[in-house]
């Protein structure tokens, strides 16, 4: 269980040699159940990525706290793993080397980590590409490697920061299906940051709508669509359309208010 309690964060920004305070998050409250798939959606500047980094422990919050299984988050830990928007693969390592990286940092012996690395590459469909370098792969394949690297440490919680934001639309849909498939089998808690309403509704149990300046939770929406979800049926269903419309209206209202 992830409990986000009254989390606030302010950044100091230097604009024209003056220090300006930007309130990225204000009193964010959210609870995420075990093995739940939760998406956080909102326009740029609503602090969704900041929130994800606070959950991971990469940055600290000014006030409030994040609890994971009742323990306070102070730094990154083995119970969490991040999938990054920019893939963040090491260009000097092969695909397998990149997947092994997360295990290597934790001192897993060479043979064992190669074995684990290979099995996760197989899982994401990259088995034949283990000796390729990242720049030899398409964006979608690079992100599969990023996903394999995160899964390889067997985290309870997968933190995904707009993971499919920089791949083309067709690949994006494929990756979404594959992710759901994996999630159904591996059953992890997923916190998924996105700005795509379609993606949020299709994937999630709940969608958290955030609004900017300062970033806070405007609304939390249940997605009652049955699982497993076949992409074509789901996207054509009335509930799906209604839910995405509802999110859109909600976001519009919030953005108008801001103006």
């Amino acid at each position: 269980m992830v409990e986000i309690q009254r989390v606030s964060k302010t950044f100091q920004k230097v604009v024209k040699e003056k220090t300006v305070e930007v309130k990225a998050l204000a009193d964010v409250d959210l609870s995420i159940r075990d093995k739940e798939f939760v998406s956080i959606i909102g326009p740029s500047g609503c602090g969704k990525t900041t929130l994800l980094r606070i959950i991971d422990g990469l940055i600290s919050c000014d006030s409030g706290q994040v609890l994971i299984n009742s323990r306070k988050v102070t730094s990154p830990g083995p119970d969490r793993a991040v999938v990054f928007q920019t893939f963040a693969l090491l260009p000097w390592r092969t695909v397998l080397g990149n997947v092994e990286f997360s295990l290597e940092l934790r001192g897993v012996p060479k043979e064992e980590r190669t074995q684990i690395g290979r099995s996760y590459l197989e899982l994401v469909g990259l088995a034949e590409f283990e000796h390729h370098f990242p720049h030899e792969l398409s964006g979608g394949m690079q992100q599969r490697a990023g996903l394999a690297r995160a899964l390889a440490v067997n985290p309870q919680i997968l933190l995904m920061d707009e993971p499919f934001g920089s791949v083309d639309a067709q690949t994006r849909q494929l990756l979404q299906e594959e992710l759901l498939d994996l999630w159904q089998r591996e059953k992890k808690t997923v916190v998924f940051v996105t700005h795509s309403m379609d993606e949020a509704v299709y994937l999630s149990d709940r969608v958290v709508i955030m609004t900017p300046r300062p970033g806070h939770v405007a609304e939390v929406l249940n997605v009652p669509l049955p699982r497993p979800r076949s992409p074509d049926d789901v996207r054509r269903s009335r509930e799906f359309v209604e839910l995405t419309n509802y999110i859109w209206e909600s976001l519009k209202k919030a953005m108008r208010r801001e103006r």
Partner: protein
């Protein structure tokens, strides 16, 4: 690659022919024909001590350059990694990199005398700063996304440095080495000409002042050969170490 080799050979051949023809037709001591330079080279190898002098020069070059690489990379890493070190040393490194290294030779003579230490110091000073500055830039500008990724997966400080920042800086470090080896060769000859007369530098001075132009050119060509080979060796090392880099070269 084959294309390039052919072009290189053609270029050398053309240059050699022009030199030979020009030398034969002008009949001046200023430009001896290439064939004459060639026979002077063979004579120098057999009886003139060219190889012995070459070994002296190469020894200085190797020691000076290796020291410059070791200390230059170490200092560049410290400057790139720790802002305090950078702020302390930045001024000096930039000033010394831009100023003519020859100006320090009198100081080196005072410190190290006229022996081999001074010549090694010259090679070192010629190549050290460019290696340090390039290393610093490389370490400092490691991709923040990769650093954050490593932190997120629980990298400790030394792992972050050893497994992310250092490999990320490698292309820049190698760029420093490529520039550094060229400067080191210059330092080698400069030291031998201005300090104790030994090695290639001594032969250049000796044959230059004796108007033995065929021998002079023979030595100069040898220096060019040393420079080229040293450069190619560093390039080969670079290609080996940074083969993962996205190739942007046009074939």
């Amino acid at each position: 690659m084959n294309h390039r080799l052919t072009a290189n050979l053609a270029s050398i051949l053309t240059f050699a022919i022009i030199w030979e023809v020009l030398g034969n037709s002008l009949q001046t001591i200023l430009i001896p024909p290439l064939s004459q330079v060639g026979s002077a080279w063979l004579r120098l190898v057999k009886t003139g001590g060219l190889l012995e002098n070459l070994l002296v020069s190469l020894g200085t070059l190797a020691v000076g350059f290796l020291l410059a690489v070791l200390l230059g990379v170490a200092m560049g890493v410290l400057m790139g990694r720790f802002r305090e070190v950078e702020h302390l040393l930045d001024l000096y490194v930039n000033a010394l990199m831009a100023s003519p290294t020859i100006a320090f030779i009198p100081v080196l003579i005072l410190w190290f005398g006229l022996g081999v230490q001074s010549r090694i110091a010259v090679v070192f000073l010629f190549s050290f700063f460019v290696i340090a500055v390039n290393t610093q830039t490389g370490v400092k500008h490691a991709d923040l996304a990769l650093v954050e990724m490593a932190r997120s997966f629980g990298a400790k400080e030394w792992q972050l440095f050893y497994k992310v920042e250092l490999p990320a800086a490698l292309p820049m470090i190698m760029a420093g080495l490529r520039l550094g080896i060229g400067r080191a060769v210059k330092g080698m000859v400069t030291g031998e000409m201005l300090l104790a007369l030994t090695g290639m530098g001594a032969m250049i001075m000796q044959y230059g002042s004796a108007f033995a132009t065929d021998a002079l050119f023979a030595v100069i060509l040898t220096v060019l050969g040393v420079a080229l080979i040293a450069m190619k060796l560093v390039q080969a090392l670079d290609r080996r170490l940074t083969s993962w880099k996205v190739e942007i070269a046009v074939e």
